[in-house]
Chain length 599, copies 2
């Protein structure tokens, strides 16, 4: 009857996200955090009905959503417009005014945990120990607070408190590739992996009985596996590994004595169940490529927030072995099959190291022959099969996207991940150039015709590539990227600073390298049009990082556009900002691809 | 554990509304119009799942939501920011870009109807006949359009087209208390009520077979009843009446041969089923006080949008005789039982006529002893048991609300409704004063201490009461009220103009009365602080109505505040405007109640 206009690419910018959820102990309510109303707020659903009602009006995304076990209240953390000074609030499960529970201005607060009776809140805070953090127990009835952990050596986070509150599991984070777990039993502090000089990580640990801890570690291995630690005998035992998969998360079903394990297999996730009683191991099919969160209810029911390269984030419940989709977050007028999935490609880097990349190509009829190189953030992170509305937006506008998991990325083993440490601008940079050369060889693009765009470390890499390889690019977009590693390492949050030497470098000992790796060293060679975007409240990459490079380039009369978002931190939490910025980025790209659009 | 702050009254302003819905022929999808995202848009649900996904992004409420019977597309009407120049668009049932179907700038378009095969759209338009309207049939395949009705005598609206498209039901609206229905069968035009000089209304008619029409009329009665008209024998038969209830709407279940009848019983609705096959009549309990919309699916399933004085609007489905609530629109942190229900009171007016009023009183602990007199709009309308977040907002702030169904209101019979005609400022005004005197007698309030607030006719009445009875009030709020009946009757939409003589008065023949009834006549006596709110796009009460009274009072140096909403029409369609204005209204009230608040 009607020929409908093809999906308006503008609508892709309107996609909403579900970023966290929790299920009430009786499974009658599900809370989730979503930008349904343009800004993030908490919403509730009365299961099995899925119609959401709004619970908060503060327009901030929540952190650490936690039900009181008797369902009397919910604890949620909120920062202010991206400043990451998360504070904890209580609210009634059906919403209403927020009550401040932990509110200590200019502190960073983490990992809220409730005692079984819901009367004590354990949490980690920068209060009193900004570099290494302390953990506290707040009596919610009396307001009295005691210190339960004093951080030292590395940022020290509380992870679990046993039901009788005599055992505490906690982690020490030295770097992203060097982190340990401990149990504090009374006054005894027990390291959960055998002592060794070799750096490794323990990324998760759970108590399954007063004396048994299961953990995920890459102790003496390249990929993380499941291990067990006996607190009485102090014995560490490897339990289960899967080749080329790195385990990341444990979720314990006490009712059925099952440990659920999420594993990273390159750009996808896997879910496994390990039955403690008989040691059986099974893979559980998931309705998505990636698991954002897995929750096991008291009854043993599984709830999952999942997404994929062509699937928006949605919440599912497992019933009789089948995943039932509870939420129906979808994109107006665009069917799942109309989204573009990436090809997973590999190419050899300058030194022969194999690099995996996601390569998104627009439908032939839209293809403009333009390629965006997308260095991901982190850098110890990965570009994986996650729905990305912005990618779909650029694809619909005819742009290809090439996103390599350069050395330093996660998902390819510990050794691979470590390769970016104190080498931010070395191998990873050349992996990007090798990727572009591969694209040229394959006939996809031409030198000088690429666009580079990235955020955070990806913004840093965009700047560095611009400064050192300007001849590959015609336009550069940097979203909150560090421009000068010296000022960057001195301006990160206090609890990040102990990590900086091993992660980025020491300002004196590594002076030459930091100069070599700093984009600001190459201002003279940054000759291509550039767009810089920065959140004014960003505590990770502070505004001065963008200010200084913009200032330097302006002084040289270069073609530079600068957007500062006053109410954002490290990224976008407000739909209207995101839409405005990405419209402007598209216009900028179109201009330098010889096209003009109105914004 | 926690003493939560009492519900933040601000949250009451955040309540969302569901104002329209439609169900797909296969009942697998439900569309609804809601301001979930702050502005009205269409949302969908994949039944039985109730999680909504957004379908439109134009931020306008829809009119005349209509499914193609094969589910290929949906027709929806949208105006622009309240200008009421509704145009019709098609969209895919899962959303996306809108396609213009009927788009004729500066025309008003009404009552879209689809042919059974979905290939022709019938509708009524001001195009070509701005006073009386024409109806057209647009071939959606070829774009060809034919005129099927030429309006004359009164605004002429198409109401139904028979399946074979040989019979058209249409109505002629002379005034709100004088309207007729006709059937056009081929070239024959058949009046569906017997000829009479006595004014009456036919408010609804449906074809149940090629020759049988059921209708709702108050022909030779004070309250509307169900009647039948035989198109062959031309016989009119009264079928069913219920004492003191006025029938308003018919919904026909062809599958089961049932007519559903909505009846007004004063401030509440009733629902009845009339079984055509055996003539049985039953009352159906409803889960609400008022029915916003009733839809019968092809299968015979009933869907209802209902609300009540303490119930937000929600959609229900009837299953096995029980109403199942599909949507869970509720207010954060406020339970239904925390809302205040009105008392229904009656008082004798100046001439002994009994007036029914809704009287909302705050909880004792909040009560400030302040009373807001609320003259409703219309005026041929009524204040009924409808959830009103704004009322709850004022109640939570300690204000009582007194809302009389003054003479002219609907729900109390045709004669009562007619009492406002050509007497806008006569009896209805004195009914309000009698209400205030009753409140004083009962000890609720004192002369000089009342606040009056109203919108549309209620704004007019607020102005008039201010001008003629200033000694009763300490503050006055007028939202888009006509201030001068001469300019008002010449500035309404063209299709309203034929109604004006009988409804308001003739500028020459009724000159003296119109002067007497115009608030602008009493500018000198308007001595109390006043707040005026107006939508710039309002086509019913144009901005000049507010401009002129504000200007006149400013010239006299009176205490007057004026708010013009640039992107609104006759009322509020955008949450942020509504919130901003009602915060300011509250601040204004508090100021004149001797209190100050920040906005």
């Amino acid at each position: 009857m009607f020929t409908f206009p093809k999906p308006d690419v503008e609508e892709l910018l309107q996609s909403i996200s579900i970023i966290d959820f929790a299920v009430s102990p009786d499974e009658k309510q599900l809370l989730f955090c979503s930008n349904f109303s343009g800004k993030y707020n908490l919403w509730g659903m009365d299961l099995p009905n899925a119609f959401p009602y709004r619970l908060t009006f503060n327009d901030q995304p929540s952190e650490g959503l936690l039900y009181d076990k008797e369902g009397r209240f919910v604890i949620a953390g909120f920062d202010q417009d991206g400043d990451e000074n998360t504070q904890f609030y209580a609210l009634k499960p059906h919403g209403g005014a927020l009550k401040q529970v932990v509110y200590q201005e200019s502190t960073r607060n983490f990992n809220p945990l409730l005692s079984k009776d819901g009367e004590r809140l354990y949490y980690t805070s920068s209060k009193g120990n900004p570099s290494y953090l302390n953990s506290y127990c707040l009596d919610l009835r009396t307001g009295e607070e005691t210190t339960v952990l004093e951080g030292s050596g590395g940022a020290t986070y509380i992870a679990e408190v046993s039901e009788d509150e005599t055992t505490i599991l906690y982690s020490k984070h030295f770097t992203n590739t060097n982190s340990l777990y401990y149990a504090k039993v009374g006054d005894e502090e027990i390291l959960l992996t055998p002592p060794t000089d070799q750096e490794h990580t323990v990324s998760f640990a759970v108590l399954v009985s007063p004396t048994e801890v299961y953990l995920v570690t890459d102790y003496e291995a390249d990929f993380s596996y499941l291990a067990k630690f006996d607190l009485e005998t102090k014995t560490f035992t490897k339990v289960k590994e899967v080749s080329k998969e790195g385990f990341t998360t444990l979720t314990y079903d006490k009712e059925n004595q099952i440990l659920y394990i999420i594993a990273e297999k390159g750009v996808e996730d896997r879910l496994y169940a390990y039955h403690l009683e008989d040691g059986t191991w099974e893979r559980i099919e998931i309705p998505c490529d990636l698991i954002g969160k897995l929750v096991v209810a008291k009854s043993g029911s599984l709830y999952l927030l999942g997404r994929g390269s062509t699937k928006l984030g949605n919440i599912y419940k497992r019933e009789q072995g089948e995943w039932v989709q509870l939420t129906r977050n979808k994109m107006a007028g665009v069917a799942e099959e109309d989204f573009i999935a990436p090809k997973v490609v590999t190419y050899p880097s300058f030194d022969g190291l194999e690099i995996e990349a996601l390569f998104y190509q627009p439908k032939e009829e839209h293809d403009k022959g333009e390629i965006i190189l997308w260095p991901h953030g982190g850098p110890q992170h990965a570009e994986r099969k996650s729905f990305n509305a912005i990618f779909q937006y650029f694809l619909s506008n005819g742009y290809s996207i090439f996103a390599p998991n350069f050395r330093g990325s996660t998902g390819y083993g510990l050794a691979f991940t470590k390769m970016v440490e104190r080498a931010w601008g070395a191998g990873p940079r050349l992996d990007h150039i090798a990727g572009l050369d591969w694209l040229i060889e394959q006939g996809y693009g031409s030198k000088g015709e690429f666009i580079v765009m990235g955020g955070s470390y990806g913004g840093y890499m965009s700047l560095l590539l611009h400064g050192r390889h300007a001849d590959y690019f015609k336009a550069v977009i940097d979203v909150c990227g560090p421009s000068n590693l010296f000022s960057f390492i001195s301006s990160v949050p206090e609890d990040w600073k102990p990590v900086m030497d091993a992660w980025v470098g020491h300002p004196e000992k590594d002076r030459e390298k930091l100069i070599e790796y700093s984009p600001s060293t190459y201002v003279d060679q940054m000759t291509k049009p550039m767009l810089v975007v920065q959140g004014a409240n960003d505590p990770r990459v502070v505004q001065a990082e963008s200010d200084q490079i913009v200032e330097a380039l302006k002084e040289k009369g270069r073609d530079i556009t600068y957007i500062v978002m006053e109410d954002e931190g490290h990224g976008f939490a407000k739909k209207e900002n995101e839409i405005a910025v990405f419209r402007q980025i598209l216009a900028f790209m179109e201009e330098h691809a010889g096209r003009k659009v109105n914004v």
